[in-house]
C-alpha cells in the first residue's frame, strides 16, 4: 500500500496544483508539503510501526517478502498488472528520490521559479514517476513510468533551462527515447515470450537481441560511453534542481533496470556480453573522468563526473557478485545525493555570479565559510575520499569487479586518481586563489534557506559514510545478493 501511496501523493499534488488556480506561495507550499509528505511516508516505511511494543523497529529488508506491495489486474489480456512494491534496494532508491525531490522543490521555491503552477506540478509529476519506476514489479509498468518521467523533464529543461535549453531538451528526449523504444521492442518480445510481464514470476530468456534492447535503453539512460551525447547539454542547461534530479535520480532508473530487469532475466546473455559491458563501463569511467577534468564550467564537471560514476556503478552491476551489487546500490544512493548536492550548489554559485565558467570564478571561500565548507565537503565526497560513503561504494564495486579481471579494477583505480584531479580542480576553481572576475565582492554566503536544502543531503551522506552498511547490507533479500538475483529468474 505504501508503494502506491508514494506514487500517488506527488501525482495527486501535481494535479491539484495544475487544476486549482492558486497563488504562487500557496502553490509552492502545497508542493513542498507534498514533497515532505513523501519523505515522511518513506521514513515511516523504514520503521515498521506494527512489530515492536515500542512501536518502532527496522523493517526486515532481508526477508524474501516484497514490502508494502500492491498488485491489481490492469491489462490482463497480455499478463500486465499494476504491481508495485519494494525490495531493499528499490526502497533505497525511492528514498533517494523523495529526498532529492524534496530538495529540488525546495530549491525551486527558494529561487522562485516562473510559472509556479506548471513548474511544481511537473516536478511533482517527475517525482511520482520516478517512485513508480523504482517501485515497479511489472515490466510494462516499469516501462510506463520510465517513459512517463521524460514528459515533465522535456518541459522542465526546455522551458526553465539555460540559453541552449531547447537544443538540450530535444537531444535529451529523443536520444533517451530512441534507447527506450528499443527497450519497448524488447519488453514486448520478452513479455510475450514469457506470457507475463511480472518481474518476479517471469523466467529467463537467452535471446541476445532482447537483452541488447534493454541494455541499449539503460546505456543511454545511465549514460554509458558512447551513448552519452545528450548528457552535457541536458545537465548544463537544465535548471540546477532539475539537473540534480536528472543526474541524481533519473539516471538511477538505469541502475534499477539493469539490476532488476536485465540481471535476473538474462543470465545467459549477461554472461556472454559481460566482457563487452564491463569494458564499456570502464571506458565510461575513464572517459567521463578525463572529460570532467577539462570542462570549462561547474556543471560540465559535475555532469561528466556523474557519467564516470554511472560507469562505475555499471561495473559493479555487471560484476554480478555480492560486493559489486551491494556496492552498486550503495553507490547509486551516494551518487544521487552527492550529485544533487553538487548541482544545487552549482546553482547557488551561478545565481551569485551569473556564470558557471570556472575561469571567471574563484576565491569564494574567503568570507563565505558556509559555502566553502559545503562545497569542500561535497567535493570531497564527489572525489570519493576514503572514509566517505562514495569511497565505500567504489571500493566495494571495484573489489567486486576484480573477480572478473584485475584490469577493470586497475582502470577503476586510475579513475579514482583522475577523480581526485578533477574534484580538486573544481573545488579550487570555485573557492581558492584570487577572486574570480565574475564573483561580486559582496555576494553573500549561503543563507538559511539554501543551507536547509543542501545540508540535509550532505548530512545523509555523512551518516552513510559512517554507516554504509545501512544501505549495502540491506539491499537485497537474503544475505547473498548474487544468489538472490539469480533466484528471481530461476
Amino acid at each position: 500500500m505504501l508503494a502506491t501511496l508514494l506514487i500517488v501523493v506527488p501525482l495527486a499534488a501535481a494535479l491539484v496544483i495544475w487544476v486549482l488556480p492558486l497563488p504562487r506561495e500557496t502553490t509552492a507550499g502545497i508542493a513542498v508539503l507534498a514533497a515532505l509528505a513523501e519523505v515522511g511516508l518513506w521514513v515511516g516505511g523504514v520503521f515498521d510501526f506494527s512489530l515492536s511494543p515500542l512501536g518502532i523497529e527496522w523493517v526486515d529488508f532481508g526477508s524474501d517478502q516484497q514490502l508494502f506491495g500492491t498488485s491489481r489486474a490492469w491489462f490482463e489480456e497480455l499478463g500486465v498488472s499494476y504491481a508495485v512494491g519494494f525490495y531493499g534496494f528499490q526502497f533505497w532508491l525511492t528514498g533517494l528520490t523523495v529526498v532529492v525531490g524534496a530538495c529540488a522543490i525546495g530549491y525551486a521555491m527558494w529561487v522562485g521559479r516562473d510559472r509556479p503552477r506548471a513548474y511544481y506540478g511537473l516536478v511533482l509529476f517527475l517525482v511520482g514517476s520516478l517512485v513508480g519506476v523504482f517501485a515497479s514489479q511489472d515490466l510494462l509498468l516499469f516501462y510506463v513510468f520510465f517513459e512517463a518521467m521524460l514528459i515533465p523533464l522535456y518541459v522542465l529543461i526546455g522551458v526553465w533551462g539555460g540559453p541552449q535549453r531547447v537544443k538540450a531538451t530535444v537531444t535529451f528526449v529523443i536520444y533517451t527515447m530512441a534507447g527506450s523504444l528499443l527497450m519497448l521492442a524488447s519488453v514486448v518480445a520478452f513479455g510475450i515470450g514469457q506470457g507475463t510481464f511480472s518481474l518476479a514470476t517471469s523466467g529467463t530468456s537467452s535471446n541476445d537481441w532482447i537483452f541488447l534492447g534493454f541494455v541499449a535503453a539503460f546505456a543511454v539512460k545511465a549514460p554509458l560511453f558512447p551513448f552519452h551525447g545528450w548528457l552535457r547539454d541536458a545537465y548544463t542547461q537544465a535548471p540546477p534542481e532539475v539537473s540534480a534530479l536528472l543526474s541524481g535520480v533519473v539516471s538511477k532508473a538505469a541502475v534499477f533496470g539493469l539490476i532488476w530487469v536485465v540481471l535476473p532475466h538474462f543470465p545467459g546473455p549477461v554472461e556472454d556480453f559481460r566482457g563487452l559491458l564491463l569494458v564499456l563501463a570502464a571506458a565510461t569511467l575513464v572517459y567521463g573522468s578525463l572529460l570532467a577534468f577539462r570542462q570549462p564550467d561547474i556543471r560540465g564537471v559535475v555532469a561528466y563526473s556523474s557519467m564516470a560514476q554511472m560507469g562505475l556503478i555499471t561495473l559493479g552491476i555487471f560484476a554480478t557478485n555480492d560486493l559489486g551489487l551491494d556496492g552498486a546500490v550503495l553507490q547509486s544512493v551516494n551518487h544521487g545525493l552527492v550529485s544533487a548536492a553538487m548541482f544545487l550548489l552549482a546553482g547557488m554559485v551561478e545565481e551569485r555570479c551569473g556564470t558557471g565558467q570556472l575561469s571567471a570564478l574563484g576565491g569564494m571561500a574567503k568570507g563565505r565559510p558556509l559555502l566553502a565548507t559545503l562545497v569542500l565537503t561535497t567535493g570531497m565526497i564527489v572525489l570519493a575520499v576514503p572514509g566517505s560513503a562514495t569511497f565505500t561504494g567504489e571500493f566495494s564495486i571495484l573489489a567486486g569487479v576484480f573477480d572478473h579481471g584485475w584490469g577493470y579494477a586497475a582502470v577503476g583505480a586510475a579513475g579514482i586518481v583522475i577523480a581526485a584531479m578533477y574534484g580538486l580542480r573544481l573545488i579550487s576553481a570555485l573557492l581558492h586563489e584570487g577572486r574570480g572576475s565574475s564573483v561580486p565582492e559582496d555576494s553573500p554566503d549561503l543563507r538559511a534557506g539554501e543551507l536547509g536544502l543542501v545540508v540535509p543531503l550532505v548530512a545523509i551522506l555523512l551518516v552513510l559514510s559512517a554507516w554504509p552498511a545501512a544501505v549495502s547490507g540491506n539491499s537485497f533479500p537474503g544475505d547473498a545478493p548474487a544468489e538472490t538475483i539469480a533466484g528471481v529468474g530461476g
Binding site: 514528459i151 526546455g158 530535444v170 527515447m177 523504444l181 521492442a185 518480445a189 510475450i192
Partner: protein, 495 residues
C-alpha cells in the same frame, strides 16, 4: 416495401442493425430541411443540435446493437453484417462524429450552415454503414457515400481557394482510387463470381492471377482511404485545405472506418491469401511509417503535419492488420480509440487557434499557445504524447499492443521498424509542445489584436477537447475493459 408486388418476396430488414445509419440519415434529412425552413439566425443552433443528437442517438443505438448481437449475422442476402465489430466501430465513428459537431459549432460560417451539418451527418451515416458492409457492392457504395459527402465538405468553404483546391484534389484522386477499388472488385468478382465476403472466401479460384490482382487493387483502394503510403498523397493537401472541423472528422473517422473494413475484408474474404496480403500490408505499413514520419518532420503547417502524422499512424495500425491474428484485430480496435480521440482533439485545438488568429496555424503560430491557453495547451500536449506513444495515454498501450500482436505473429522486424519510426516521430510531435511552451508568443499584441482579440471561450469545443482527453487518458487506465470489447468484436472473425 409492402407496395412491391406479391411476386417479389419482401426481404427481411433488420432495422436494429440499420438503426445507427438511419438515425444519422434522419438527422441529416432534418438538417437539410432546417436549411430551408429554419430562419437564418437559429439555423446553426438547430442544425448542430440535430446533428449532435443524431450522432448521440447513433452511439446509443450502436451500443444496443452491440449488446444484442453476441454472434455475427449477415443480413439481406449477405449484403450487410450485423455484428459486434461493426457495432463497436459504429460507436467509435458516431462518437467521433458527435465530437466533430462540437468542434464545428464554433465555425463562424455564414452560409450553408444547414447543409454543412447535413453533410457531416450524411458522411457519418455513410461510414456507419460502410463498416457493416458484407459484400463488395455495399463496400463500394458505402465508401462512395461518405467519400462524396466528404468531397463536398472539403470544398465547402468556396470562398477559400485552398478549400476548393483540397476539394478538387480529393475528388479527383479519391475517384481515381475508387475506380481502382472498383476495378479490383470487378476482378475479384470475375475470379470468383461472388460479391459477398464469405462467399468469396468459399469460392474456388483462389490462386487465379485475376483474383490476386483484384485483391491488390482492393487493398490499394482501402489503403487509399486509410491514407496509407504510398496512397497517401492526397492526405496532407486535403487535411490542410479542408475546414478544420471537417479535417478533424476525416482524420479520425475515415481512417477508422477504412481500417476496420480493411480488416474485415481481408480476414473474412481473403483468408486463403493471407500470406500474400500480410506481406503487402506489412510493406504498406513500413512505407507509411517511413514516409509519414519523414515528411512530417519538415512541415510548418500544423494541420499538414498532423496529416502526415496520420499517415504514420495508419502505418502502425496496418501492422496490427498484418499480424492477421485475433490479437492483431483487438490491437487495431484498441488503437483506434485513443488515436481517434487524440486526432480529433488535436484538430480541435488547431481549429481553436485558427479561429483566434484567423489565419492558417503554422508551428510558429503555436508559439506561446501553452501559456496563453493553458487548458488547450495541456490538452494538445496530451494528444501529442498520445500520438508519440507516451505512457499515461492510450496511445502508448495501443502501440504496445500492436507490437505485441506483431511479435506474436512473428513480425519482429515490423516491431523494430515501428520503434524506429516512433523515435523519429518524437521530433515533430514534441516540436508542437516545444512551440507551445518553449517559444515566446508571437501573437499577443500583434495578430491576435488584429483578429479582434481572443474569441469568446467556446464551450462546445472545450467539451470536445475535454472528452478527447478523457478518452485518451481513460483508455490507458481502463485498457482491459476496452480490450474485452474488442475481443468480443473480433470474436467471430475467422482468424
Amino acid at each position: 416495401m409492402t407496395v412491391v408486388g406479391a411476386s417479389i418476396p419482401t426481404p427481411d430488414v433488420d432495422w436494429l442493425a440499420l438503426s445507427p445509419t438511419v438515425a444519422l440519415l434522419a438527422a441529416s434529412a432534418l438538417c437539410l430541411l432546417g436549411a430551408v425552413i429554419v430562419p437564418q439566425e437559429s439555423r446553426r443552433l438547430f442544425s448542430a443540435t440535430v446533428a449532435f443528437t443524431g450522432f448521440v442517438a447513433a452511439v446509443v443505438l450502436a451500443v444496443d446493437v452491440f449488446r444484442e448481437t453476441p454472434d455475427g449475422v449477415s443480413l439481406i442476402a449477405d449484403s450487410m453484417s450485423r455484428d459486434r465489430l461493426a457495432a463497436l466501430a459504429q460507436i467509435l465513428l458516431a462518437g467521433v462524429g458527435g465530437l466533430a459537431v462540437l468542434v464545428a459549432w464554433g465555425d463562424r460560417r455564414r452560409s450553408h450552415v444547414g447543409e454543412y451539418y447535413a453533410l457531416l451527418t450524411a458522411a457519418g451515416a455513410g461510414m456507419v454503414f460502410f463498416v457493416g458492409s458484407a459484400n463488395l457492392m455495399t463496400l463500394v457504395l458505402g465508401l462512395e457515400w461518405f467519400s462524396i459527402a466528404l468531397y463536398i465538405l472539403c470544398a465547402l468553404d468556396t470562398d477559400r481557394e485552398r478549400s476548393l483546391e483540397a476539394g478538387l484534389k480529393y475528388l479527383v484522386v479519391g475517384s481515381f482510387g475508387s475506380a481502382i477499388l472498383l476495378f479490383g472488385a470487378a476482378m475479384t468478382y470475375g475470379a470468383t463470381g461472388e460479391l459477398g465476403f464469405s462467399a468469396i472466401r468459399d469460392a474456388e479460384g483462389a490462386d487465379d492471377p485475376v483474383f490476386v490482382i483484384g485483391l491488390a487493387m482492393i487493398v490499394a483502394g482501402l489503403a487509399f482511404k486509410a491514407s496509407a503510403a504510398p496512397f497517401h498523397m492526397w492526405t496532407p493537401d486535403v487535411y490542410e485545405g479542408a475546414p478544420t472541423a471537417v479535417t478533424a472528422f476525416m482524420a479520425a473517422a475515415t481512417k477508422a472506418a477504412a481500417l476496420v473494413v480493411t480488416l474485415r475484408v481481408l480476414v473474412t474474404a481473403f483468408p486463403e491469401q493471407s500470406e500474400v496480403w500480410t506481406v503487402a500490408v506489412a510493406v504498406l505499413a513500413v512505407a507509411s511509417l517511413a514516409i509519414g514520419n519523414l515528411a512530417a518532420l519538415v512541415q510548418r503547417d500544423v494541420k499538414r503535419m498532423l496529416a502526415y502524422s496520420s499517415v504514420s499512424q495508419a502505418g502502425f495500425m496496418l501492422i496490427a492488420i498484418a499480424a492477421d491474428s485475433s490479437s492483431g484485430g483487438k490491437a487495431l480496435l484498441y488503437y483506434l480509440v485513443p488515436y481517434a480521440a487524440a486526432s480529433l482533439g488535436a484538430f480541435a485545438i488547431v481549429a481553436a487557434r485558427e479561429r483566434e488568429l484567423e489565419r492558417p496555424v503554422t508551428v510558429d503560430a503555436m508559439a506561446g499557445f501553452g501559456w496563453e491557453r493553458p487548458l488547450h495547451g495541456a490538452a494538445m500536449w496530451v494528444f501529442m504524447l498520445a500520438f508519440a506513444g507516451f505512457p499515461l495515454t492510450g496511445g502508448f498501450l495501443g502501440k504496445f499492443y500492436v507490437f505485441a500482436a506483431a511479435y506474436e505473429a512473428g513480425w519482429w522486424w515490423l516491431v523494430v521498424v515501428g520503434v524506429l519510426a516512433t523515435a523519429i516521430s518524437l521530433y515533430y510531435y514534441l516540436g508542437i509542445v516545444r512551440a507551445m511552451y518553449m517559444r515566446p508568443s508571437q501573437v499577443v499584441g500583434s495578430t491576435l489584436a488584429v483578429a479582434g482579440g481572443s474569441p469568446p471561450y467556446d464551450p462546445a469545443l472545450g467539451a470536445a477537447v475535454a472528452a478527447s482527453v478523457a478518452v485518451v487518458v481513460g483508455s490507458f487506465v481502463f485498457v482491459q475493459p476496452l480490450v474485452d470489447l474488442a475481443a468480443d468484436a473480433v470474436a467471430h472473425l475467422p482468424f
